[in-house]
Symmetry: C2
Subunit: 332 residues, 2 copies
């Protein structure tokens, strides 16, 4: 039986080019004692995938050349030689960009959770929004929270949590359609289309009391526009800087960085890995919010392992709304 997998052949410089990764065919491996064979159902496509391809300074080792590309997955157990895992179990893990993997462990999905929810609002991107906004942002009722990439997997959830906490939520997104979605479906108070408006001026209009919290997913000029409008003691939740991930050279930092000093602001970077010991808290709260319909989530599902790279690129062109997933095989 054939297993198709994406191998990192060469570290991309700037945008990913043909030949940086290659789709190869191998034999599906046999599970050994204590192992099981997992068929990939969904592959999570995330901005951080691009980071893992580089040997830039990062929060875990980059993918090595010749290795299967790393990626978060939801898989179904096909055949097991591990008594703790049964055929048909649904496993979340990091099985990578491939159709099958032999694993020796993973987290079993509890029954009743829609698979796409477990890969988005009830998965790592939801947890990122939850801990980033609440733990680092420390929102208080009446404060103004700005969220860049507001229609994205993390931003869409962060803004909704801000609303639940009594804040004004102002999104930044890349099209009028996304902005409508963010306001009308997700309940943000306002959303700025950065391709059509001067963001700093629009933020001044939409944040009449200034910005108390910035949930930063983008960086670059959008981050500069936010920094220009922060309040005293503002908190900048540094979650991502996607605008720079495809840069061949280090992007310039914010020209108005001195505002962090003048406004006695706090910038704090975080990675969801640091919060794994507290995931139970997240599942409890978010599970209830989703069940009650107080938090909505969207997924954009592309299909077929052969389309992994073109699908990933949607993150950089703004082509997706909500969590981007690649469906590699049918749900069981």
């Amino acid at each position: 039986m054939i297993n198709r997998q994406w191998i990192l052949k060469r570290r991309p410089v700037g945008e990913i080019r043909p030949g940086d990764l290659a789709l190869v065919e191998t034999q599906v491996p046999e599970p050994g004692a204590g192992q099981f064979l997992a068929r990939t159902v969904y592959l999570s496509l995330d901005p951080t995938n691009r980071i893992w391809m580089s040997d830039m300074e990062q929060y875990m080792p980059p993918v090595q050349l010749g290795e299967v590309m790393r990626g978060g997955t939801l898989s179904v157990v096909e055949e097991s030689r591990n008594p703790a895992f049964q055929k048909g179990d649904i496993i979340s893990g990091i099985a990578g960009w491939q159709e099958y993997a032999v694993l020796d462990g993973g987290q079993k999905l509890p029954p009743g959770v829609p698979l796409t929810a477990s890969m988005s609002v009830l998965g790592m991107t939801g947890a990122t929004a939850y801990f980033g906004l609440l733990d680092i942002g420390q929102p208080k009722p009446g404060e103004t929270v700005v969220v860049s990439a507001a229609a994205g997997a993390v931003g869409s959830i962060a803004g909704q949590i801000a609303k639940l906490k009594g804040c004004r939520a102002v999104g930044i997104a890349g099209s009028d359609e996304k902005c409508r979605h963010v306001v009308e479906r997700l309940g943000f108070d306002a959303c700025i289309n950065y391709r059509r408006e001067d963001v700093a001026a629009a933020l001044k209009r939409e944040c009449p009391n200034g910005i108390d919290i910035d949930f930063e997913n983008v960086g670059g000029e959008i981050f500069e526009a936010v920094l220009a409008n922060i309040n005293l003691k503002a908190r900048i939740v540094l979650c991502g800087l996607i605008s720079g991930y495809n840069d061949a050279e280090a992007p310039r930092g914010p020209a108005n960085f001195a505002n962090v000093l003048m406004k006695r602001a706090r910038i704090e970077g975080f990675i969801i890995l640091d919060y794994f010991p507290r995931l139970a808290e997240f599942y409890g709260a978010m599970g209830q919010w989703v069940a009650e319909g107080r938090i909505k989530y969207d997924v954009h599902v592309a299909k077929g392992i052969e389309n992994a790279l073109s699908a990933l690129n949607l993150l950089f062109t703004g082509g997706n709304t909500g969590k981007l997933l690649l469906q590699v095989s049918e749900e069981p």
Copy 2:
């Protein structure tokens, strides 16, 4: 009687130029009811003076055109119509760049404190080092603390407190002489001359366990070199960014800003004003350290109100070691 004072005539663009400020002669004013006449003994010269001349975003209103330049002062009461202040009292305040001022209040200096100490280690610059390092930096024994502008008023104290707290203290300064001073007199473990060495490489050598805390006074390329060497969960105490204060255009931000995310670091700006409610804590601790000789301090004293501008410039050329003061008249 003549009062000489510096008036802000025009906002400097880039470096301060002749004509931006003017030294004028007026009559010494008469104190009214509830007021007293104060003779300036010492004027504090600080990087923030340059900020106050600009209408950039800042933490208090800039000095208005036509006004006496703002500055921290130590004055002696010459004549009083306020029962709470007697002739001969020493008052710290913000009487500005002038030889005399009529005031209606101020903080009386307790007896026994050397005047230059009260304008440095036991004044605002000492308090800035104290609260910045301890409250924002949260140093733990064994951690490595880097201090830029290590021979300056704030940096020299911050590094010594780091040593008292059991940390490795590594300074960055602008000459071999300053570096010797920082190590031999102040007790830092090492000091890097940024004019002679590649700072990032030197930091790698002098901080073999990486950087846990950066007490940042400078910004620009030096800050970039520090960011390149920070540890996970590093704290960046953002105290000043003097390298950019004379820039005519906004300086570029750190190109490796993304490291803040990758290392889950925290950058926090602060201004000593925010800590005024806690000054008693500072006076207690620092007073004892200075009395016991565990914290040393240095002052660089220029003389004569007419030399205020040329003396201020020493801060930007690296011409001073320790706290820069302008002695405007004799100590009583």
